[in-house]
Structures are given as structure tokens and as C-alpha cells.
Amino acid sequence: MKLVYFSWVREKIGTTDEELNPPNHINTVSDLINWLASRGDGYASAFADLSSIRIAINQKYVKEDATIRADDEIAFFPPVTGG
């Protein structure tokens, strides 16, 4: 799946996007976040406070309990500040 990051989530993780194949038992966004956080300090720091994390799957806002699929584009970013 494709993961994309914005704002300080991108800065902490250190990349704008990446292709990753999480293990089979990673079924929800929540699972994915826990798995990512275990991959290194940058990820751990980005996901340290989940109240500051917003999620979109295929460009649609979702909650942490959303199911993920192999061909999804999953985005993580802080609360938006448009306008």
C-alpha cells in the first residue's frame, strides 16, 4: 500500500510517501499505526499523540478503526489549517 505524510508528520517520518507491505494481521488503520510506530523513532514520534493525527484512505477522511486494503493510499497528517 501507499503511505503519504504531510506537515510535521512528514518531517518526523522523514519522507513524503512510501510503498509498504505490512504483515497480514494488519487490518485496520489502528493496527497500521502501531506497526509503523514500531519501525523507528521517527514513526514513533509522529504517532506519539494520536489526538493530533488525521487519516485519509484514498483521499477520504476515516477514523482509526477503518479497514485497510493492499491497494489503498493511506495518508497521515495533523489537523488541517486551510482557508
Binding site: F6, P78, V80, G82, G83
Partner: protein, 149 residues
């Protein structure tokens, strides 16, 4: 019924005139322009960089626009949002709503900017001589957006 996400500046007059030109059923046109302020808290900012999520931004804003169209009888709407590096005094966003009656135009315009603030995937980085920092959403923005829930 138009959404544009662009690096370039926009001309308010030309944009608003294009909405009303030749239309004789518009009684009120409400618009809002957001600009970069020099002061952020107590700090002088030198520039502001707007990051966005290109493949999502237009879609998200079109949904907000469609919601406004559902809620009020609108003759036209326009949303132009810039991204990239801007300087104090630069225009960031133009939102406009036209209706046969002014109340609908006002409410829709206000709704559009409130929801843009909390739902459009943009992030602002304020740059000053002391460094740069990501703008946190204001609580009042959430409250303003929640009025329309």
C-alpha cells in the same frame, strides 16, 4: 460551481465579475478573501508556506461546495485556494457565494470558509527569523465549523 487550487495569485475583481456578468437573478454576492498577516502571535513572520494534499484537495473542497449548494439556494459559488510560499499581505483564499437573496449568500460564504478551515487538507508553515513552525488549528475554528454540523 468552481474550485481552483493554484500557486498563482488571483484577481478578486475579475473573479467576482465573472460570477455576476450577464446574470440577472443574483441579488447578493458575498465574498471572503483570506490574506497572510505579518504578525503571528507576537512574532513577525517573513513568509508562510502552504502545503496541501494534491490528489485530495480539490475533491475535499468540491464536497464542501456541494454541501453548501445542498443547504442554500445558490446561483453560483467559487473557491480559489493557493498553495506554496506566500508573503505577508498576499492573498491565500477567495470564497464567494451568490444567491437571489443576501442571507443565503452570506451564510453559504461563511459556511464555506469555516469548513475550508477545518476540512480542506492544507497545512501552514509560518517562517520567521527565529525559525519556522506549523500553525496549529485554533479552537475557535472548530467551534465556527461546528455551528454548521
Amino acid at each position: 460551481m468552481a474550485v481552483r487550487i493554484q500557486l498563482e495569485n488571483f484577481q478578486i475583481g475579475a473573479e467576482l465579475n465573472a460570477i455576476t456578468n450577464g446574470r440577472h437573478n443574483i441579488g447578493g454576492l458575498c465574498s471572503f478573501v483570506g490574506l497572510v498577516r505579518e504578525m503571528a502571535g507576537n512574532e513577525n513572520i517573513t513568509s508562510m508556506t502552504l502545503e496541501h494534499y494534491p490528489s485530495m484537495t480539490e475533491k475535499a473542497i468540491m464536497e464542501i461546495e456541494a454541501e453548501a449548494q445542498n443547504r442554500w439556494p445558490l446561483e453560483a459559488t467559487l473557491i480559489i485556494h493557493r498553495y506554496g510560499k506566500l508573503k505577508p499581505g498576499d492573498q491565500i483564499v477567495l470564497v464567494a457565494a451568490a444567491s437571489s437573496h443576501r442571507e443565503a449568500a452570506f451564510k453559504a460564504c461563511n459556511f464555506l470558509i469555516d469548513w475550508l478551515k477545518t476540512k480542506a487538507p492544507f497545512w501552514k508553515l509560518e517562517e520567521s527569523f527565529k525559525g519556522s513552525r506549523w500553525v496549529n488549528p485554533r479552537g475557535t475554528d472548530d467551534e465556527a465549523a461546528a455551528r454548521w454540523d
